[in-house]
């Protein structure tokens, strides 16, 4: 049966047959839908009636859509807030917990715990802690800092809701990125630090000239992953700011929520795909810039 095939072809066949199980699943459930979504952005479709051509109409509509603009703005603010803060927090944690401190195993576990805990459960706890009238945080502000009752911060509405989301996200995900940084830190040769000590370098100089440059590829990975995950935010917004029927107001809506709403509540699959394209483009451009930056420093 295999007589007619050359050795190389046989090898290829074996390789393809190993790739096939995964790739077929990927193609059917991920690749084709993604390609279809690209096409849908230029079409009108409600999932049942015949597809009609829309051209750039969906994108033109975006410009005048207040909910889209609010979602775009909120998503960008959330990312600008979350990415650097999480990176700094996780790096600081990793550096501290990489030293020989008593009970560092416990502290490492504790910092990783928020990442493991169920998001729904911990958002409920946050909502209790930050409850506008009964929460301990506002009660401390009221009792010890004498903030008048009417001026107590409303953590889940208005201007503060994005801050709450950012703080929550940093707290929840810094443990995960800390582990990645810890691995990076342990890959740095101790000889470098010894040599620096002999040359009389202080702690800051050791960090500035050894740790930071040695961690560059780790930082690159962390920042890329963080950026992509931040643009995808949905669950945190719904859980912290979702209203009576789960809807988000213009101060807390995010792009992924709006994509879902337009696609599966209003059944405007074309329009929703156009929003998704904007999200894709943003992630793509930001990641490309980061790749460029990474290459330049290497």
């Amino acid at each position: 049966m295999t007589k007619g095939l050359s050795r190389q072809k046989k090898r290829d066949l074996v390789a393809y047959s190993f790739i096939a199980p995964n790739f077929i699943g990927f193609a059917v459930f991920t690749l084709i839908p993604i390609v279809f979504a690209f096409a849908l952005a230029f079409l009108n479709w409600d999932g049942s009636n015949p597809i009609t051509f829309a051209g750039l109409e969906n994108f033109k509509q975006l410009a005048g859509d207040v909910f889209f603009k609010a979602a775009l703005k909120n998503t960008i603010i959330y990312c600008i807030g979350t990415v650097p803060l999480t990176m700094i927090a996780s790096l600081a944690l990793a550096i501290i917990l990489n030293q020989k401190v008593v009970g560092r195993g416990i502290f490492r576990t504790l910092s990783f715990f928020p990442y493991v805990a169920s998001l729904v459960a911990v958002t409920s706890v946050w909502k209790m802690l930050f409850h506008p009238s009964k929460g301990p945080i506002n009660n401390i502000l009221y009792t010890y800092f004498h903030v008048p009752m009417e001026q107590l911060p409303q953590w889940f509405t208005g201007g503060l809701v994005l801050l709450s989301m950012i703080l929550f996200s940093v707290w929840k995900y810094m443990g995960y990125y800390m582990v990645i940084y810890l691995a990076g830190l342990q890959g740095i040769s101790a000889e470098l630090y010894e040599a620096a000590s002999l040359d009389g370098a202080n702690t800051w100089q050791k960090f500035r000239f050894i740790t930071w440059p040695q961690l560059r590829s780790t930082t690159f990975f962390v920042v890329v992953m963080l950026t992509i995950n931040c643009f995808k935010v949905y669950d945190i917004a719904i859980m912290l700011a979702g209203g009576g029927s789960g809807e988000l107001t213009t101060s807390s809506t995010v792009l992924v929520y709006y994509i879902y709403q337009k696609a599966f509540i209003d059944w405007k699959l074309g329009y929703s795909s156009a929003v998704a394209m904007v999200l894709f483009l943003m992630v793509f451009v930001v990641t490309m810039i980061q790749f460029r930056g990474q290459k330049k420093y290497q």
Binding site: S17, H131, G244, L248, T250
Partner: protein, 460 residues
């Protein structure tokens, strides 16, 4: 070489096993396909007999039909099974197979199920109007006009609700359940304070004054005069009861007085704060059954919950056991008994192979016999017959005072959401800005201006 052959066989085995997974799926679907193909053949004689005898119920000896029916929360909602059981005695040849899609995302899941080809639902329950509009636009449900005129269904029995869901002159659902909003109140709290009970004829000013009179803000003995759930309907839709405005108007300035009333009540501690309710996710039933809320505006579905929860001991009878209902407050110069309604309807899918049998079921459930079954389980049927009314007011645990019985007489019923082409998007926009106004993110004027702007963008 041997090893290579082995690896080839192994790899081939994996591919085959994967293909096996796929084919087993098609195999499980395979028996279904001939069945659906057979179904029309089976249905055909039945429809003929149905036409001849003018009722599927009488098709004794006709072939068996199975109808697949989409519902939600089968375990916690007693009437689904009660309707199926009762229909079994009327039409023994028809098997109703219920499929529970859950209540949380019911209409979204249903719309997904009915998108494209391959759906095998025959009858679907319609939970809300935005979802209904979606299904109509998707051509997923049949126009019932021909059936309605052929069987001589009198739509006037549905108290005008069917007019509000008519699409370009056609009706795609027939309601079987009709809930309307009333004012629940805790008699013990009124007795303690020596204040007269609310009445069936209260203007909004009188209601506001009464709520304020009942309020006690002293620490530890706090009583809220009234309570509003976080839904838009609970606050904003007071405004549509004058019969002149609807949520489809496009200019929402008429809602301002009602937002002012509620936000002022919030400020004075007459009701719980929206932001608090949202943060703690407090359910209205928990609020009212806690015994510190004097009045609650809520749909009539809560009547069945009150009765059942007090009977089971889930609610403490000392806190909320002595309750009553009165009609919704009304605007100055408007007839008392004008209130908001929500209908639950049944539709026949376009994908159904046995639409005639499905229609017979829809007709029966939405008719007077179905109404009696609904009333026996404490629910409000769409056709409010004398019999259904006395069944509900006669239920063990229903308030015994005359005012509570009188409260069930509705004069004008306005659907929370009437049909419009873009109603789903309008609904989302109004929901969102309702949240903005109630949480103080926007002033009332800003919120209303934003609503006007957003809806203008949708309808243009």
């Amino acid at each position: 070489m041997k090893r290579k052959v082995l690896s080839l066989i192994l790899a081939a085995g994996m591919v085959v096993s994967l293909a096996g997974c796929g084919s087993s799926e098609t195999q499980t679907q395979a028996p279904a396909a001939p069945e659906t193909q057979q179904a029309p053949a089976q249905a055909a004689p039945e429809t003929q007999t149905a036409d001849n005898q003018n009722a599927a119920a009488d098709t004794a000896g006709g072939d068996a039909v199975t109808l697949k029916w989409a519902i939600w929360d089968k375990e916690s909602t007693p009437y689904w099974q009660a309707l199926v059981d009762a229909y079994k005695s009327v039409a023994p040849d028809v098997t109703i197979e219920m499929v529970d899609l859950g209540s949380t995302d019911y209409m979204t899941v249903l719309a997904t199920e009915l998108s494209g080809e391959g759906s095998d639902f025959d009858v679907v329950t319609i939970k809300d109007v935005p979802g209904y509009a979606t299904l109509v636009q998707k051509n997923a449900i049949l126009s019932l006009d021909d059936y309605i005129s052929a069987d001589g269904i009198d739509l006037s029995k549905y108290a005008g609700t069917t007019d509000q869901v008519t699409v370009n002159g056609s009706l795609y659902e027939l309601p079987f359940r009709n809930d309307f909003w009333v004012l629940f109140y805790n008699k013990d709290l009124f007795d303690d304070k020596g204040v007269a009970y609310p009445t069936n004829d209260m203007t909004f000013d009188e209601y506001d004054a009464l709520a304020r009179e009942m309020t006690d803000t002293s620490f530890g003995a706090q009583i809220y005069g009234t309570h509003y759930h976080t839904w838009r309907s609970a606050v904003q839709l007071f405004a549509v009861l004058d019969g002149k405005h609807t949520i489809l108007d496009g200019d929402y300035a008429f809602m301002k007085p009602y937002y002012e009333m509620v936000l002022n009540q919030e400020k004075d501690g007459v009701c719980r704060k929206y932001t608090d309710l949202k943060a703690e996710g407090l359910h209205y039933s928990a609020a009212f059954s806690g015994g510190d809320v004097a009045m609650l505006n809520m749909g009539s579905w809560y009547v069945a919950t009150m009765i059942a929860s007090l009977e089971s001991g889930e609610y403490d009878a000392d806190l909320c056991g002595n309750w009553g209902i009165v009609k919704y407050p009304h605007a100055e110069g408007v007839e008392p008994g004008s209130t908001l309604g929500t209908i639950t309807g049944l539709s026949v899918t376009t994908a159904s192979d046995t639409p005639d049998a499905a229609w017979e079921f829809v007709k029966w459930v939405s008719g007077e016999e179905g109404a009696a079954v609904m009333a026996e389980t404490g629910n409000f049927p769409a056709i409010m017959t004398e019999e259904a009314m006395s069944l509900i007011t006669g239920l063990e645990g229903f308030p015994t005072d005359d005012a509570s019985k009188e409260a069930l007489n509705v004069s004008n019923l306005y659907l929370e959401v009437p049909y419009a082409e873009n109603v789903s998007e309008i609904n989302s926009a109004l929901d969102s800005y309702h949240g903005s106004i109630m949480s103080g993110e926007m002033s009332i004027d800003e919120g209303i201006a934003a609503m006007n702007e957003a809806v203008k963008g949708i309808t243009n």
